[in-house]
Amino acid sequence: MLSYLDRKVVRDLSRMKGQAIAVSLVMACGLAMLTMSRSLIFSLERTRAEYYQENRFAHIFAHLKRAPNDVRERVAKIPGIAGVQTSIKVQVTLDMPGLDEPASGMVLSLPDRGEQELNRLFLREGRWLEQGSRGEVLVGEAFAKANSLRPGDSLAMLLNGRRQSFNIAGIVLSPEYIFESRPGAALPDNKSYGIFWMPYEEVAKAFDLYGGFNYLTAMLAPEGKEKAVISEIDQVLQQYGGLGAFGRGDHPSHIRVSDEIRVLQTLSIGFPLVFLSVAAFMTNAVLSRLLTLQREQIAILKAFGFSNREIVLHFLKFAFAMVIAGVSVGTVGGALLGNRLVRMYEMFFRFPELHFRFDKSALLWALLVSTGAAMIGVFSSVRRAAALPPAEAMRPEPPANYKPALIERSGIAHLFSHSFRIAVRNLERRPMQAVFTVAGLALATAILIIPSTFRDSVKQILGVQWDIVNRDDMTVGMMEPASIKVHDNLKHLPGVVQVEPFRTAAVRIRFGNRSRQLGIRGLPRNRIHTRVVDGSLHEIVLPPEGLVVSDKLAEILGAKVGDEVIVEVLQGKRMTRTVRLIALAEDLAGIGAYMDMQGLNRFLEEGDIINGASFTIDTAHRSQFLRALKDIPTISWVAIKETLRDNFRKTTAASINLLQSIYMIFASIVAFGVVYNNARISLAERSRELATLRVVGFSQREVGAVLVTELVILAGMALPLGLLMGTGFATAIIKMVNTETVRLPLVLTSSNYAIATLTVTIASVLSAANVLRSLKNIDLVSALKAPE
């Protein structure tokens, strides 16, 4: 049974439930963000770790031209290696009758006998390949879903130029392709690019690689050192055309998931911090007021022998009740939101099962952090309760000490109405209360700036990428590098308005002891489609010599303009040279490097060679053009800007919008709660004063005007401050979020500021209106009676 003092907690709480609920809700918002993001991190990390573990995801990956199968043994003997898997990995062109554009993909071989040693597949649907079967294929889930393929359907592929029809045995997932996208593509297009698995014999024979392999993955032993093992593998594979081994840190699918986790980590700290600070402010305000109101009650409890400890505990229980309510609502809300957001990840990432997993440690964190926030909030006021001498408290409180307000001292008071003067005096008399309210409202405003910044930033980056950097309609990649003469053929395809060739080369760029593998893109001299721009979107002219890299890559390498970086070519004649960094470029894809095309070809000691082209197409002939492309066997892939844009809208933009609405709701709750609390406290503390005003003849409206004026003054201070703070938060968060695959510019628009201002204003007005309704209920007679 509750003790009688605890009953008092319950009854007092139920009398001030509006305020308690407001505090708890603000707390809950922060805790919901906390549990949601912590749980999502937990879900992604654990799911990925288990998936990697169960399906034996490799640590090291290496592409090569061709090595005989017995090289595998040599690699396996390298110290620190626990397992090796060799296979064939080739690009194929698909013939999808339902699709306008050519589709392409990657085929990986499966051992003819037995299971894969590493990177084992997960069978989602259908069956495994039958031993010794021909004409069967396993299809990656993302592609299968995007094209509505089921086991039993057939699929036509061009294997090394020969068209062949395959029967889909099963739909599978691979730990290597949690994020399924064409290498080098910033945005996935699962409709026109897929991953497939076939028996070794079938692929090997089709590509004249039988008896050898061109892709090797290795698993590290617990004591294995990645760097050392990589260089040993490189040594072994060098004579077989090795393109340079790399670790998980360079693995495209792995990086994408890691980046997402990093973004979540930022969210899991930043936002809860903001919300919980507001909650701490509010707890303090509510408890201070409670203590002021209960001065005599505290004295009585002390007079009857309750100890300071008991009294402090008693008041902490109020805070704790709000914490418990906040934690309950927050964790349940966080779990619900998390469940919803996990489904969003299913659009991007392919796991056998991505369940929402509640991070129990998040609950503990939530409790700890919110208790901490509440304690900070109540500490000073409760200490005041303990310090209150019982004899003192029985004496009536001296009248409030009003001084002429600043505006009166400044001699311009006559310009203002009575309500304005009363409001200003009250604010000056209770500066802390005013500070808390301003801080709370400012934080609510600030919270709103952040998601809109994200949205605007993504919009801007896509604008830059699609309207300024890439001005083509489509980009086409070729199976093998070809002579520049192909250019003429491409020019004469139906509907082509403009065609512009390019050349890419796989390299490793090194500076000091840091390095990155990527493709250098060689661009023609006079170009319209692909532009290389600097931070202020001015075009960078590519001279015959020298290298331009993206900002992010320079940051990763620690290099600056003027430095000489080492470029190790991972194909062809495989030379290593130093190149001067001549400029830094702004790039959506994060890491990128550019050279003049002729310069690159000279550098590679190859002739005039291209391996792709971009097009401007006459829309009237679009489908003719695509059909014609499908008939060119050397075309490996096509990226259609419109399709990417569409995909983007359906996935990334949709998820950003979802997040934005969540923030919008949360910020409204904060604004509503803060204003509600302030107005309630003002009303309660000054019911006598306000009643007196009514008694001496002020109308209800005029009395209301006093409170409203106060709020307007506070909001007038809070909004600009909030916009400023929001700008700061957004800047910090965008900085933290930026990774190799996500590169967001800071974009602050006036509509962003306007939405934040408007939302907070509306929430405040609704909240104040709610409180003002209770002005009607001020009982004039009892408010003027002696205090109980």
Partner: protein, 249 residues
Amino acid sequence: MTLTSSSPIEESARQGERIFHVRALTKLYGVGDTVVRALDGVDLDLFQGELIVLLGPSGSGKTTLLNQLGGLDWPTSGELQYRDMDLTSATEAALTRYRREAVGFIFQFYNLIPSLTARENVALITEIADDPMNPVEALEMVNLGARLDHFPAQLSGGEQQRVAIARAIAKRPKVLLCDEPTGALDLRTGIVVLEALEKVNREMGTLSVIITHNATMADMADRVIRFSDGRVQSIEKNDHRAPASSLKW
């Protein structure tokens, strides 16, 4: 009514054990120029079972004296003993224990906890007492058996003050300290409250000190202490206590 002998400390009604022993008790408030001598050398002995009325003009130091007796505050100098306990040197924790175990307070403005019912207001205190009465029994003693589950706001002033009395006596205190218990009440209700106090004193033998500035209440006391300027002016002993119901003012 007879005047006592010249020494005001010397008491003639040794009804029982000495509860309070007060000598040269001084209490100063403030510092420097603004210092106020609220108590200025008080000498006093109070005994078990006595009903004391403390009379004096407003500002004469009555409440201050009561606060010292009740362990709500420390005196500036002088001797103050509750039985064997030296209240002047007691720690805060010791004073808290003293108040919890030995003292019942009644204040002018009742000071009930508004969010608790009559019964709960009493039970709140009995819960932390060693050998308390049943809260209902205490409330019946002040004739409030029918108002157990009312909140203070639902009770009249006199009823609230009787709840306060029940709350003060329910733990069977050694001392009952009442600061102007009828100050906020009209005559009729005032008398009902005083009857309750009288009954408690008679039936439980509790030393009761009642502060008032209403001289008519002097008749119901065993001894009347007159106070002014922080000092005891005189102590009178009544041969017969007049019943509270007969008081008029």
